[in-house]
Assembly symmetry: C2
Homo-oligomer: 245 residues x 2
DNA sequence: CGCGCAAAATTGCGATCACAATGCACGAAC
DNA sequence: GTTCGTGCATTGTGATCGCAATTTTGCGCG
């Protein structure tokens, strides 16, 4: 297949490897890529319609961010599995950094931010009602990071992004289990109220509670045997609630 | 120079891009690369005696870890400068994560660890006496991470490593200024004593104090105007473990 | 029917080439 | 002497090729 591809000007805002990165990242955050399955550079490249090179670059970044793992022997990459220890550390880190970001965002909050959050939250609740997992994941991520970005703390924000990237694939598992049951939207409402009042500690508490509830569910799911163990070799399709993801 | 290079078996423990990564990382941590200076893939490749390709991979990882910055317009990369805000966030993150790692290491400490720490600390003090900045930086890094690794917390350890990578280039600036003056070895002694006693909170306090003192100096240096221009202490010579200049 | 070994396919890594874009420098114009 | 424009060098990016190693397949033998 020696197809001649139209050459893209390099100075446009997004290089190919950046778009590939965003595509894989989004797939990870929203849990579209099941943990444990092995992927190859060439297969990803073929799927995305690019050469293996930009995929290599994107994968390097994701591996550096611990969003993808690479088997040292195989050199084959997969989504890392979530052990109990890993979950515990990720929860600890999230519980420290995300309320901190939220608290820092409080004094910088304005009407526009609250309006945007409200819109996102409405979309989130709608997704919950209709059971659209993808939409829920995207909205939840958007809600949190709309707040965090307001903190204006680049380093902390990047750390938080890395943490979400690591737990993203598993949040979907949890949501798939919990379904449209208990919704953390109340915590979101608390956060928005506190933001409107510039109440830093209130925002911190609301986000901490939101995280705590979500991570509780996730811990329960992991302990309940959704323990997604990536087999050392071969492809392991994680099954949750009886269905293939 | 179209020299035919001997091909290295791929399955040996370290790939070329990994060795390049380690080389640049070590150069960053020990502050061998001054902040603000721009580097290019080809120049790095020529310096290391490899093709630009593995350098690209290594640089991707380092950019993902925020150890290198890439100008969005230029697409040119450099060591990111340390602004006051960045320093504040890095300090906050370090003050949270590193004492936590140290505390977790305490119950797992044994005689061998303390002996190793003692050896490192002796080397560190020796480096301080003779004013060998490189040696001091290496020893200090080794001391802290010998403890942190004992915590057995992979996620937190990786985060701490990323933080050191980001402030590494500036620690050298600071200690190049402070010279062999006030030495934080006492905190190291406190940490070792607490480790020997399995006193988690004691280790936590010692590491927190050690960090606090170091970051105080760094903040003073940054405020004094060392933000962008580092002390040009020698050329940036990076050597990969294989030898080739 | 099962097991083991060899051949073919797949995969990651590194090198080299091509190309667009930017940076840099030398020289001309006023 | 200063400033602006044009040509050359350098840089990052992506594609393609070659290679070694691993995985998978296929087939023959027990």
């Amino acid at each position: 297949m020696k197809e001649v591809r139209a050459r893209r000007p390099l100075a446009d805002s997004t290089a190919v490897h950046d778009r590939v990165y965003d595509a894989i990242r989004q797939a990870l955050i929203t849990g579209k890529i099941a943990p444990g399955v092995g992927v190859s550079l060439r297969s990803l490249a073929a799927e995305l319609g690019v050469s293996p090179m930009p995929v290599r670059d994107a994968v390097r970044r994701l591996v550096a961010e611990r969003a993808l793992a690479i088997n040292p022997a195989n050199k084959r990459l997969s989504v890392p599995s979530l052990s109990a220890e890993r979950l515990e550390q990720l929860e600890l880190a999230r519980q420290w950094i995300e309320p901190e970001l939220a608290a820092r965002a409080a004094p910088r909050a304005d009407e526009a931010l609250v309006r945007r959050l409200k819109a996102i939250d409405l979309d989130l609740e709608e997704a919950l009602r209709v059971g659209d997992v993808d939409r829920y994941m995207v909205a939840n991520h958007a809600f949190h990071f709309a707040i965090y970005e307001r903190a204006g703390a680049e380093v902390l924000l990047a750390m938080a992004g890395g943490l979400w990237l690591q737990i993203g694939p598993f949040m979907r598992v949890v949501f798939g289990r919990v379904g449209t049951g208990s919704l953390p939207a109340d915590r979101h409402a608390e956060a928005m109220d506190a933001l409107k009042a510039r109440d830093a500690e209130g925002v911190r508490r609301a986000i901490a509670a939101d995280l705590s509830e979500g991570m509780d569910k996730m811990r329960a799911a992991v302990e309940a045997g959704a323990g997604l163990t990536a087999a050392p070799t071969g492809q392991t399709v994680i099954t949750v609630s009886g269905g293939k993801v």
